[in-house]
């Protein structure tokens, strides 16, 4: 897993890279970034777009789409800062476009952050989504 996380192995050369348990267990975005990519050095970028509602009535199902015009996107990851486990999804893109969409759970109003790896560097953008009813409680 460490090799895959640091990018020493090319995506696709391993049959099934291990699920990055440490990154998903991380309590902060910075820690999750370190676990995933070996660094939390990210550059804010206007070439990443997050499409999502500014206000979500139901935090259990918040549609989020991330796209980027950065060249050769290698990976995308998506975070909900205020969730117990901020990392929602981490995607390697051996051939697919710099795009990913999903519906995510949000415990409460939070910053949602997208990180793109391009040319071995990390770029990021974020937006704030207001949640009226949280989606992680019991």
């Amino acid at each position: 897993m460490a090799a895959a996380a640091t990018g020493l192995l090319k995506p696709g050369t391993v049959l099934a890279a291990a699920w990055p348990a440490n990154a998903f267990a991380a309590k902060t975005i910075d820690d999750a970034l370190k676990q995933l990519y070996g660094t939390n050095a990210v550059t804010e970028s206007k070439d990443i777009e997050i499409k999502a509602p500014l206000q979500a009535e139901n935090g259990a199902v918040v549609p989020v789409a991330v796209s980027t015009s950065l060249p050769k996107p290698e990976a995308i990851s998506l975070y909900v800062k205020e969730n117990v486990q901020p990392l929602a999804a981490a995607i390697d893109l051996p051939r697919a476009s710099g795009y990913f969409s999903a519906r995510v759970k949000m415990a409460k109003t939070s910053e949602v952050r997208a990180v793109i790896k391009s040319g071995g560097k990390l770029y990021s953008t974020s937006m704030n989504i207001k949640v009226t009813v949280g989606g992680c409680g019991g």
Partner: protein, 105 residues
């Protein structure tokens, strides 16, 4: 028992978009049963791969922050009508699923 899955393709912003829907509880392991007060065990999809004409195009890892009945979208730069796409997934309990389709933009 196989879970219900749907896969459809469409053209978005000049690219082929792959949308996959899986009927899955995506239990976080943090919720409690309201009657018994016992924790509901975690049960969620952890891995998903997208193959395009037999080649790995995307490999996704999911955590408990992905909503119930995941609706996941990927896009392909170089796909065209008639191409084959395949999505496979596995969850933390070892359940797996797969669906194949032919691209129709």
């Amino acid at each position: 028992m196989a879970r219900k899955m749907k896969l459809r393709t469409r053209t978005r912003e000049g690219k082929i978009e792959i949308l996959v829907l899986i009927n899955h509880p995506m239990e976080t392991g943090l919720r409690k049963d309201k009657k018994t007060k016992e924790k509901i065990p975690a049960h969620y999809i952890q891995k998903m791969t997208l193959h395009h004409n037999g080649q790995l195009a995307a490999e996704a890892n999911f955590g408990i922050g992905v909503s119930e009945d995941p609706l996941i979208g990927f896009r392909l730069d170089d796909a065209k009508n008639g191409d084959k796409v395949k999505v496979e997934w596995s969850d933390n309990k070892g359940e797996t699923g797969a669906i194949e389709a032919v691209v129709e933009g």
